[in-house]
Amino acid sequence: MSEKETFSLEALQRRDRQEMARLVEAFSTPVYRLGLKILGNPQDAEDVLQSTFLKVFEALPSFEGRSSLSTWIYRIAVNEALMILRKRRPEIGLALDDGNEDEEEPLSPPQAMIDWCCLPEDELLSSEARRVLDQAIRKLPEKLRLVFILRDIEGLSIQETAEALGLSETNVKTRLLRARLRLREMLSEYYEERVREKQIYG
């Protein structure tokens, strides 16, 4: 995101419409995608999109630049998405600061050992495979999912992810590895089956 950090804070703070529109253009896709990945449907993602930018422009006058503008926007977007999520599913307290019990458990060693990288890309990204990708990410516990989305999908650095989620960098790294390991197992289950089919049917 750093290449997009060429906004004039001064212009934004005096509500220069052109600069505001530029900011929205630059960040609407990642914010929408974040909403989609956290909440799982386009309507909720649009709610996240709107409420995030309303909050951003409301809070901009008091933005002090302690973190980068993009990290700050991600932080707001995550909070908005989680607020909607809590409204939808109030039984989920929330997830970000609910202790570190998970971090203290030993990592479970990888099980899936068939190399499926050789599958052709149209098969790796078939519509069926895309459903598996989406389902797998939805199955991750919230706190692992958020870290994976920000770091691996949106490409934030470890430090930016930590700032956006209010976590330590060590915590981000631990959660990221757990997320990657779990996702790899879930996807491997599907892709290994495709490899076996190829071996049987040639």
């Binding site: 609407s28 999908i153 996702l183 996807l187």
Partner: protein, 78 residues
Amino acid sequence: MADQDCRHLLAALGDYIDGTLEEQICRELERHMAECQNCRVVVDTMRKMIYLYQVEASEEGVPAEARQRLFARLNLDV
């Protein structure tokens, strides 16, 4: 993944994939991977998995109508 070297790889896997692992440890892991197919598979499939999520995400954009409603809501429509 039972071997002690495999367990070392697991502990350093995140930094290795991100390219932030200390050079010497990195060389040790690569020596191990040259001999351990399982660890190679774990690293390769994990990298591929991240790549697939990134490709999928790069194709997801804000639908035109949602974008329009956003700009209207923010009073930014031209």
